[in-house]
Amino acid sequence: MSAPAYYLPAGLPRPVAEPDGLDAPYWEGTRARELRVQRCRACRAWQWGPEWICHHCLAFDLEWAAVEPRGTIYSWERAWHPVHPALRGHGPYVVVLVELPHAGRVRMIGNLLGDPQQLVRIGAPVEAVFETHDDATPPFTLVHWRVTR
């Protein structure tokens, strides 16, 4: 059995939840192939990144809502210079910032799958692709994006 095909080479820092548990539901959600963001039970405002208080109404009463894992490209970059030893010799890769219009226009970061030299268009529709790293200790899942037609 061949090694799982990941977008970026192995060896980059692994994501772990914060010691106080603030973002643990997000990372647990990715393991269940869910994209979760915070939503205030009191005023229904969306919130991302996570915080213990609602920035809109100041209630300490936030829930985690699974949202449809689709959005549009808000911005992007193509990285060439390897800033981490794991990236040496890998070549360019694309990072995208994806806006979720149906979830308060919060934004998510991920890699854009496909040709790393592809023409990237701000505003293009994208859908999430969950990249599971079951072999990691502890296991984790990243959320990438690919352009939809």
């Binding site: 772990v16 991302w48 990144g49 911005s75 970059e77 060439w80 934004r107 984790f140």
Partner: protein, 393 residues
């Protein structure tokens, strides 16, 4: 002078720096560099180092004021201050904090300093050696979004998209710094001119930044001496009076995972109006600008946000001829700045602003009376400041 303004109350009377080294090449320990710069600034001002009674710095400078005070044998320490925030966003704020201490009477003679010997510590431009990432870093590092250049490229990309900014705009900013460095013997890139062709052929670091859009990393130290306006009259050098200082950032700028509502900005949209209001000047009054180049796109946005031109005018305004001393419309980074003089975490820009007002720049703008320094675009908090000669008070 209004009661709640620093305008005209405090002056920078001494500036000093060490030899500026390429990254990792300083043989002196970092604290020695700090001490050398402080003594150089005292000598420049013609004051006894033992008259220092306060210190201000930023970006978690490792050289603790209590240690410096002990090392220098200061009779007493009355003020020690660290501006929150990473990057170079605190450069002007540290000057503002020092000036506030002088104006309030907390201290009489405050040093603003920054020392960096990155060869002896962790580099800014390389990933920290950790197997895991948490918090903000967990949302970015696993996707290869790690370094400062990578952190800011998407802000600039969106700004360029929104306003139709062409590559020539960033290029002109890089060329201006290198142009000025050729007249500045202190500059690390002195004798290393940059041509438009070499810029265009340089490798991508992360689109939209090429190699020459990105600051150097260097070793060295820089320091400034601040005293009250009254005391400044007795000092050897022509004082550079603070006209205004402002720091901060927009609504929820630090929302994690690139969720700042005002994303395509250099974080100055709320800060710059406070600066002008306090200083009582307009963009037209500014003779010369030193704008922190972490990346040229950050300079571009910060100049727009300080209202030197609109985003729609950027392609036309940002041409080399407009940006160089002595005759450009807006001489920019006249020492060579972070790109070509030294990445002294931006504090070399404050020194250059002072030299311009004294008539001591190696790229002098004739009759410079008001100088601006813009510190650390795109981080939070950012800061900027205006200095002026006595005849603008």
């Amino acid at each position: 002078m209004t009661a709640r303004s620093i305008r005209g109350r405090v002056a920078i009377v001494g500036v000093g720096e060490t030899v500026y080294y390429k990254h990792g090449q300083a043989r002196e320990p970092e604290v020695t560099l700090a001490l050398q710069a402080i003594l150089a600034a005292c000598a420049d001002a013609g004051i006894d180092p033992r008259s220092i009674d306060g210190f201000a710095s930023y970006s978690n400078d490792r050289n603790d004021p209590s240690r410096l005070a002990a090392a220098l044998g200061l009779p007493e320490l009355r003020f020690s201050n660290m501006q929150w925030g990473g990057g170079g966003g605190g450069g002007s704020a540290a000057v503002g904090n020092a000036a506030a201490a002088v104006a309030a009477g907390y201290a009489d003679c405050v040093v603003v300093f920054r020392a960096l010997a990155q060869g002896q510590f962790q580099r800014f431009g390389a990933a920290p050696p950790a197997a895991t990432a948490t918090g903000e870093a967990a949302l970015t590092f696993p996707y290869g979004l790690i370094s400062p250049a990578q952190r800011f490229a998407m802000r600039v990309m969106r700004f360029m998209h929104d306003h139709g900014i062409e590559p020539g705009a960033q290029r002109a900013i890089a060329l201006a710094s290198y142009h000025h460095a050729q007249n500045n013997p202190r500059a690390v890139m002195h004798g290393r001119p940059l041509t438009p062709e070499a810029y265009d052929e340089s490798r991508w670091i992360v689109e939209p930044f090429r190699l020459f859009d990105c600051c150097m990393e260097n070793d060295g130290a820089a320091a400034l001496i601040l005293v009250s306006a009254e005391r400044a009259r007795d000092v050897r050098q022509r004082p550079a009076y603070l006209l205004g200082v402002a720091q901060g950032s927009e609504y929820r700028n630090a929302a994690r995972g690139h969720n700042a509502p005002t994303y395509a900005s250099s974080s100055f949209t709320t800060v710059a109006p406070h600066l002008y209001a306090m200083a009582g000047v307009t963009p037209k009054d500014v003779s010369v600008v030193q704008s922190y180049e972490n990346f040229t796109g950050g300079v571009l946005m910060s100049l727009v946000e300080h209202e030197f031109f609109t985003a729609e005018e950027a392609n036309e305004f940002l041409r080399l001829d407009n940006l160089i001393a002595p005759k450009g419309r807006l001489p920019l980074n006249t020492s060579g700045g972070n790109l070509a003089e030294c990445y002294m975490h931006g504090l070399e820009l404050q020194i250059e602003a002072v030299r311009q007002l004294r008539g001591q720049s190696t790229n002098q703008v004739p009759g410079a009376r008001v100088g601006m320094v813009i510190s650390g675009p795109m981080v939070t908090p950012v800061s900027s400041m205006l200095v002026g000669t006595d005849d603008v008070l």
